[in-house]
Amino acid sequence: MEKKYFDPADLKKFGNITEWQEAMGKKFFDWYGEVFKEGALTEREKALIALAVAHAEACPYCIDAYSSTCLEKGADEEQMMEAIHVAAAIKGGATLVNGVQMMNHVKKLSM
């Protein structure tokens, strides 16, 4: 059988990480659950943030999971794509803003 690095079915086994470190794993999942509950932000807004971060992190598990969650929480395609643009803009901006650091350094070394 061909071995895949990413198997969508593995997402369901995420909970199994507690098998090898129960106390920490449990704390993580409790906290995770708490984070995504409705608070100052709605569940839909949190799902959109999660989707954006999932793209920035390029995590295929999280992209699948939060694409579904966004739909289920009532977000539409336009909102989801805008969220990804926000992630992309920050990633692009974060790369480019470091250009100032490069410029500073080059200027210091140059006559």
Partner: protein
């Protein structure tokens, strides 16, 4: 405003799924898929419900016909403009009136379809039910109001008879609405909602109730009703100055055209798995089949509109209006099958939205 349908009825396509027996075979993993899921009856039995029994009958739901001006992709009735044969006649409606008058516990007559207003006896029937002092619900698809001049005065008629209007609007955006219900449906729906608002529907202090129904445009479950309602209210007011009373979040049941969509798109097994995983025992007591009887255009009796579309008749002595026997109906076991997982997922789902 022209509506362009994206699909046709299963019946007009000659699709195998228009056969209800075939649908039940699919749901039980014997046709089209070998995906197996725990039996719904076993699942609820594990919570102590070995026989699901009704409570006193409160809602008399009539599917007055399958004729509709739309052909929505998810329609569990397989309704459409081609379904001209299946419409309730006046004699059957008169029989309904006799029964409604004779059972005091019935407080609401819920009229659905198809587009119920396309039945030629619709207005007469509504007026007669109101004379009996019962509440009337019209499950109105909105676009019918603007589909033809003869329906333009529907808002006035419904207001005059104080009918509760319950209307589908899958989303407050055009793309989501039209992908499910047909191109042009969103704009026509907005126009109809404005006409309903204009006669007082959805407005405070008028006593005229306009509720909306949200159901997901795809193979996913609905968000919480409360969150969706707040979002719909905000967006419809902001974009179109539209008001409504409540929003019902309804889960799509895996039958008829939605089942066809699930199979065609390769989402069937995953969707069933979602429903099964989201099973919530707290919804069982409030299932709509417990206080409702559903009547088909030809007068047969069912536990709900979904069972009607699967041709699962009531397990009681009289299965037709002509043999209506309230005592036997109140004692019947409700007929359950795999599609019932759609009613018990998450916060539950019924014609009135969430259950738990």
């Amino acid at each position: 405003m022209a509506i362009k349908q994206r699909s046709k009825s299963l019946k007009s396509r000659g699709d195998g799924l228009s056969d209800t027996f075939f649908q039940l075979q699919v749901l039980n993993g014997k046709q089209a898929t070998d995906a197996q899921f725990p039996k719904f009856v076993d699942t609820i039995a594990s919570n102590g419900y070995t026989d699901l029994k009704p409570v006193p009958l409160e809602i008399f739901q009539i599917n007055i016909g399958k004729l509709c001006n739309q052909t929505c992709a998810h329609c569990h009735v397989d309704a459409g403009p081609d379904r001209k044969e299946e419409n309730m006649d006046k004699a059957t409606l008169e029989r309904c009136l006799d029964i409604i008058a004779s059972v005091p516990s019935i407080h609401t007559v819920d009229i659905t379809g198809g587009a119920p207003e396309m039945n030629p006896h619709f207005r007469w029937f509504v007026a007669e039910v109101r004379k009996l002092g019962k509440k009337v619900i019209d499950r109105c698809n909105l676009t019918i109001v603007v589909a033809n001049k003869k329906y333009h005065d529907l808002p006035d008629f419904l207001a005059q008879h104080q009918v509760q209007v319950v209307s589908s609007l899958p989303y407050f955006s055009k793309s989501r609405t039209d992908s499910q219900r047909g191109d042009g449906v969103f704009e026509a729906s907005i126009q109809a909602l404005k006409m309903l608002n204009a006669v007082g529907y959805g407005k405070e202090g008028t006593g005229l109730t306009l509720d909306l129904v949200y159901n997901p445009s795809g193979a996913f479950l609905p968000a919480s009703q409360e969150t969706l309602q707040a979002e719909f209210k905000r967006q419809l007011k902001r974009k179109y100055a539209i008001d409504f009373n409540s929003l019902y979040a309804i889960t799509n049941l895996p039958i008829s055209r939605f089942l066809d969509y699930l199979l065609q798109s390769g989402n069937y097994a995953e969707y069933m798995e979602k429903l099964v995983e989201a099973y919530n025992p707290a919804t069982v007591d409030g299932l709509m089949c417990r206080n409702t009887i559903s009547v088909s255009w030809d007068g047969y009796l069912y536990d709900c509109d979904f069972n009607q579309m699967l041709d699962l008749k009531v397990a009681a002595k009289g299965q037709h209006l002509n043999d209506f026997d309230i005592a036997s109906l109140q004692n019947r076991p409700i007929v359950l099958n795999q599609h019932c997982y759609g009613c018990t997922a998450g916060a539950g789902s019924s014609c009135g939205g969430e259950i738990a």
